[in-house]
Symmetry: C2
Subunit: 213 residues, 2 copies
């Protein structure tokens, strides 16, 4: 059995939980508490020198990092349901939309960046929230325009893909930072459609064993 080292509120861990659930792959979950700094422990740095979650540990001990690389791996070992379609253009477009979230939004409102702007730039709670909301809204603006050009329930498809593995955790963060999702009606509708599905429900932060709710 594989082991997922993650944290209930980490959006990268949440992405991988959704992918595993969509594929019906059961793993052992091990919590790495980001609030007490466990991600910088010697044990975790041995798993991932970057000190980030998630880490997917395979049965043979191989350790995989970076949520999108892990999801790609899952798609290569478990063909159905596909997280990425076979058509090269559609595949590239779904990857691109996923990267808007995973590269252009999430890392900029990551815990370590928020800590830096507090400590080094002397920013308080309001400015920190404004910062996070700003980058989420900037990214969602482009995504909303892209998403509206398709009539499908999910982005370009009638089944959730890699994109929805990324979107739903980001919408969860958007709400925490007070982003008004009514500004992004198509993304909001995709989020609502996903949150009715068992794979998304069981992967939600509040449904994890290590959740503090």
């Amino acid at each position: 059995m594989m082991t997922l080292h993650g944290y209930w509120r980490s959006s990268a861990s949440y992405r991988v939980r959704i992918g595993l659930a969509l594929k019906g792959i059961t793993v052992k979950h091990v919590a790495v508490n980001l609030r007490d700094g466990s991600q910088k422990s010697e044990a975790h740095l041995a798993r991932n020198p970057q000190g980030f979650v998630p880490v997917l540990e395979l049965a043979d001990g191989t350790q995989l990092t970076q949520s999108l690389a892990i999801l790609d791996y899952l798609d290569s070992i478990s063909a159905y349901p596909e997280l990425l379609p076979q058509d090269a253009v559609k595949r590239s477009k779904i990857r691109a939309a996923s990267l808007i979230i995973a590269a252009d939004i999430a890392p900029i409102q990551n815990l370590s960046v928020l800590k830096y702007i507090r400590a080094e730039h002397g920013q308080g709670d309001a400015a920190v929230t404004q910062w996070a909301a700003h980058w989420i809204e900037s990214g969602f603006k482009g995504l909303e325009t892209m998403a509206r050009s398709y009539e499908t329930t999910f982005l370009m498809t009638e089944v959730p893909t890699l994109f929805e593995c990324c979107l739903i955790p980001q919408v969860y963060n958007a709400r925490r930072f007070g982003v008004d999702m009514d500004t992004f009606p198509k993304l909001k509708a995709i989020d609502a459609a996903c949150r009715e599905l068992p794979a998304f429900i069981q992967s939600a932060p509040e449904n994890q064993a290590d959740a503090l709710v």
Copy 2:
């Protein structure tokens, strides 16, 4: 023929130029001047609602965005040389290392983020440089540890892959922000090995038609 809308100093454009050159694919290059705000023009937003470069326009007018998604597309239409190996674990590890650069480093030291911390947090030149260098060094630290665990010339291979398409543009930025590459000897060696290869030489920012050097 395909058209690449890019900018000489954009590291995401630079990544795609390397991938195209490695594959021996010739494209028409169209410059989008990031310094005069051309990326926010109506014409460019029609290509990419996110207002970013690069955009790869296919012969049929299809527009692809996000450098990593474009490089994946190139790998699917042109099998040799492979930007990603076929082995699922190795593929995931090379993707993960690429994402450390494309997700966890580059977006945080992107022009729009640097503008924000100047305008909204009142940070001057020294603090902006320190910010960029900090995130590059944080990411390179984990990458250096990963890279040192392999004896190969490039990361896990004897030929450049998706990872080197990401690393060399990031090292270019690292030098601009005063990062001491001697701290990262393995990454420095990979960079030096790449910069001897024609594909990397022809893709370098200073060798582009729109370069201001």
